[in-house]
């Protein structure tokens, strides 16, 4: 049997050509900030073991994505792996591992584009690691220390991480004007509700195996850096995504948007795509409409993320103080 890791789980790797330049740039900004922070965090946690450990585990995720099991009618269940990695080595290290996997897939196998790599890293790596980890930690806290708890927490984390990645992908396609959100979102979520089952089953199975053989690894993962902030980062990402999803729905009438734009004197933006984060938004200092769009989308995403993160951290402090 020929082994083909090139056939990784499909449909979340956005190729080039689908995302508009402002949307793609925003993804790169978010990804770059998260990667930079994760590099600092893991440096402190892993020290000089950082490179060998993360390199080999990235290769592991890459290989594990090709391990599948038959479901029905020729389809098979796959693993994306962000949740599993995050549970074992903590969310920040997992984020870097997934970044390496997704980056290598894009560069070497054209599995996902280069301009769209920023969002691909965010969707599958960053969102995946933090959703999986946050949900797992939360579920463990609620359901206790037993085997059932491990299965439930791992499966739930795996499933939700895939669903959130799918929702984010749909939102980015809609913002780029490459798909209508009203169709793309339910379609993506529908398909990935099933793909997520594969992720959930494999993640839970792998956790059971690791728990039976090396339970110390799972305890080490719980103590990894970022375990406390993980839930708040997750919350911030979810809120940012929620707003991005809602923004095109909030004003479904493009004519209305254009009128607002004209009223405010932003006529140059009138030919913009029907879905945009800050519709008709422009900054007086930048004349070039494309630069304006990049700045608007990037700043919008960052502001929302920043606000949500700060709110989350304040919430965390209060909880600790209480």
């Amino acid at each position: 049997m020929l082994f083909l890791p090139v056939q990784s789980p499909p449909q979340l790797h956005i190729p080039d050509g689908f995302l508009s330049v402002p949307v793609a740039a925003a993804g790169w900004i978010v990804a770059a900030i998260c990667i930079g922070y994760a590099l600092l965090k893991t440096r402190g946690q892993l020290g000089e073991k950082q490179i060998p450990l993360m390199g080999v585990l990235a290769a592991f995720i890459f290989a594990a994505q090709a391990l599948n099991f038959p479901v029905a009618g020729g389809t098979s269940g796959h693993l994306l792996g962000a949740t599993l990695a995050a549970i074992v080595v903590g969310p920040w290290a997992a984020m870097l591992i997934m970044t390496s996997v997704i980056g290598l897939q894009a560069i070497l196998f054209q599995d996902g584009g280069l301009l769209s790599l920023g969002w691909n890293i965010v969707n599958m790596g960053i969102l995946g690691a933090f959703t999986g980890y946050g949900v797992y930690q939360f579920a463990r806290r609620v359901t206790g220390d037993g085997r059932t708890s491990l299965i439930v927490a791992g499966a739930l984390g795996g499933w939700l991480s895939v669903m959130l990645g799918a929702a984010a992908t749909a939102a980015q396609l809609a913002l780029s004007g490459a798909a209508a959100l009203s169709i793309a979102l339910p379609a993506m979520l529908g398909v990935h509700a099933l793909i997520g089952v594969g992720e959930a089953l494999i993640t839970a199975g792998a956790l059971l195996f690791i728990n039976a053989t090396r339970p110390d690894l799972l305890r080490a993962g719980r103590a990894a850096t970022g375990s406390r902030s993980a839930i708040w980062v997750l919350l911030a990402l979810v809120i940012a995504l929620g707003l991005a999803l809602v923004s095109p729905l909030a004003s479904p009438d493009p004519d209305g948007l254009n009128r607002v734009a004209a009223d405010l004197g932003f006529d140059s933006e009138a030919q913009a795509a029907p879905y945009e984060i800050l519709p008709g938004y422009s900054m007086p200092l930048i004349e070039n409409p494309n630069l304006t769009k990049i700045a608007a989308v990037g700043i919008g995403t960052l502001v929302v993320f920043g606000i949500a993160f700060v709110i989350g951290r304040i919430g965390a402090r209060k909880k600790i103080a209480a």
């Binding site: 499909p10 050509g17 080999v56 594990a64 099991f69 301009l115």
Partner: protein, 263 residues
């Protein structure tokens, strides 16, 4: 599994092969950016862009057949945009074949997305078929991608073949133990199969973990101190500059005319 199953590099000594990796990475990114910035429906300009990777493979001696065969890899994703012809508002036409009513603007946008995606992927394929992966990593490092990230990807590349071999052995072992008689159910349900696959993943995870410890020990024994050193980038040759400037000028021209004459 061997390198040639996955690595697309085709060795050669053509001009394209000899170009500095930094230049090749920059040209590829500029090309893909240009494709993304072109407005929908600029068919002539898409054609002008397509010339670049085609010329590249001809000069590199790879042949356009290989490029075309590989370039359909991203096509399944077109499904994500397939609803555009039916959802974008505007004047509509009824197709003579299926009797479907599609919006002209939506159809133009859909075809543009698919074409741009197809053209962009060709340039990315040209890059990896003419550059070895270590060179590519070195180019990325010279272009200031974080050092740790480049080292992690480098180490990962070294071990994907080893771990993919292990994964293959796991799959073979499972297949050898999974007898099947036609007309009879074999094995358990989906949850059971998922758990078996999960066990395989968990086992591979532990082996990888332990392998990484051994690799770390081996690295320390050879003087590793937490830094992976790279050669200092050599100076760019005259050819490098010529190609970079020519291609950037060409792309700028295509983009400028494309934006200027946008409908």
């Amino acid at each position: 599994m061997h390198v040639h199953f996955t690595d697309q590099y085709r060795s050669g000594s053509s001009l394209v092969h000899r170009l500095d990796p930094r230049i090749k990475v920059l040209c590829t990114l500029a090309f893909i950016l240009t494709a993304a910035l072109l407005p929908p429906g600029e068919w002539i300009h898409y054609g002008l862009l397509l010339i670049v990777p085609l010329l590249g493979v001809v000069v590199a001696g790879i042949g356009p057949g290989y490029l075309l065969k590989r370039s359909f890899i991203a096509l399944p994703f077109a499904l994500a945009a397939i609803t555009l012809p039916f959802t974008v508002p505007g004047p509509q036409v009824t197709l003579p074949i299926l009797g479907l009513t599609v919006s002209i603007e939506g159809a133009v946008r859909f075809v543009s997305i698919v074409l741009k995606s197809w053209i962009s992927v060709q340039m990315a394929i040209l890059l990896v078929t003419t550059t070895t992966f270590p060179d590519l990593l070195w180019g990325l490092r010279a272009l200031h991608v974080p050092r740790v990230l480049v080292s992690v990807v480098g180490l990962m590349y070294r071990y994907i073949f080893v771990l993919a071999d292990e994964a293959t052995r796991l799959m073979r072992a499972r297949a050898a133990r999974s007898g099947e008689v036609e007309g009879h159910q074999s094995g358990g349900g989906i949850a059971w199969r998922g758990r078996v696959a999960g066990g395989m993943v968990g086992s591979l995870a532990l082996r990888s973990f332990e392998r990484s410890e051994r690799i770390y020990d081996a690295m320390v024994a050879r003087g590793y101190t937490g830094e992976i050193r790279h050669f200092a980038p050599p100076a760019l040759s005259a050819d490098d500059y010529t190609i970079l400037v020519t291609l950037l000028a060409y792309l700028a021209l295509v983009l400028a005319t494309g934006l200027l004459f946008a409908r």
